[in-house]
């Protein structure tokens, strides 16, 4: 039990920083931020908790509660994608994860998903923001048909359209 836990922890804490950097890199800050996972009690890791610290590019605080709404979302996504990489499930379903993000961060998330979506990992993303949903390969439009009081579905393959 302890071994399994350690293997998971070692893997995830090994990739968290690179994942966070990939999500927070920009022209202004090519290095991105930094993120770490630390065990609160060295000897019995699965008894104690694990502390997550993320520091946006060029900020100086390590406490998570000082992060803004958008900064917290980016830190959360880095953690989510890192945990996923240990025993990757075949797909993600993400419901309006971009609600607190400004356009620049929406763009970074879209780029990350586009880069990592593939046969090993499928992304199904619910979004209200053009900056994210226009990057999809397939667009599923849902509307309410008032006549019959039901939701209806339309699908569209975006790949046949030139990049917006």
């Amino acid at each position: 039990r302890c071994d399994k836990f350690n293997a998971a922890f070692e893997h995830i804490s090994g990739v968290i920083d690179a994942t966070y950097k990939e999500l927070t890199r920009s022209d202004a800050f090519p290095l991105g931020g930094s993120a770490t996972l630390t065990v609160e009690d060295e000897h019995e890791p699965y008894l104690e908790g694990i502390k997550y610290h993320a520091m946006p590019p060029m900020k100086r605080f390590r406490e998570m509660e000082l992060l803004s709404g958008g900064e917290k979302t980016m830190a959360a996504l880095a953690l989510l994608f890192s945990i996923h990489s240990f025993h990757p499930s075949p797909f993600f379903v993400l419901d309006e994860i971009d609600a607190a993000l400004d356009n620049a961060n929406v763009q970074r998330v879209a780029n990350y998903i586009r880069k990592h979506a593939g046969s090993k990992c499928q992304f199904i993303v619910i979004s209200l923001k053009r900056g994210l949903y226009t990057h999809g390969e397939c667009l599923v439009g849902i509307y309410r048909d008032q006549e019959v009081n039901s939701s209806k579905i339309l699908t569209m393959d975006l790949r046949s359209y030139p990049d917006t």
Binding site: G49, I50, L67, I83, H87, P90, E96, G118, S151, I153
Partner: protein, 169 residues
Amino acid sequence: GTLKAIELCNFKSYRDTHRVDLGDSSFSAIIGPNGSGKSNMMDAISFVLGVRSSQLRSTQLKDLIYRGRIMRGEEVSSTQSQEATSAYVLVEYEKSNGDLLKLKRTITPSGTSEYRINNKVTSSGEYNATMKKENILVKARNFLVFQGDVEQIASQSPQDLSKLIEITS
């Protein structure tokens, strides 16, 4: 593997049968106005994987069945009076070796769940084991992010984070 298609029948706001073909898309985006049924689609995917109804904004399975709900006072026409008494969600999942898995979960008129793999009734244990082989760990749920939940992933307590890592190990 990948999710190829989702079929819903009388599930939440989806009256009668609806089907979504994702084809071989690895990045699908679901869009639509507020209240149109986007999160209900995510609930459908979560439901068919075995997630409990309490996680799907409902108290019991019956709440997940389509309700046309006639408002008090409206006369009930004969076609509308038959409220749906059962509902199902079916997903077609293609394994990495090319085999097609049809996973179906039905809410029966008595309010219980019925699980089927490739149209054969199975127990929920076996159903879960089949998904585990595909690395779909419903208990960890680290691949499903419900609306409004993303931020608290970063600020969860150290104990919760350690539990999450333990389940995925």
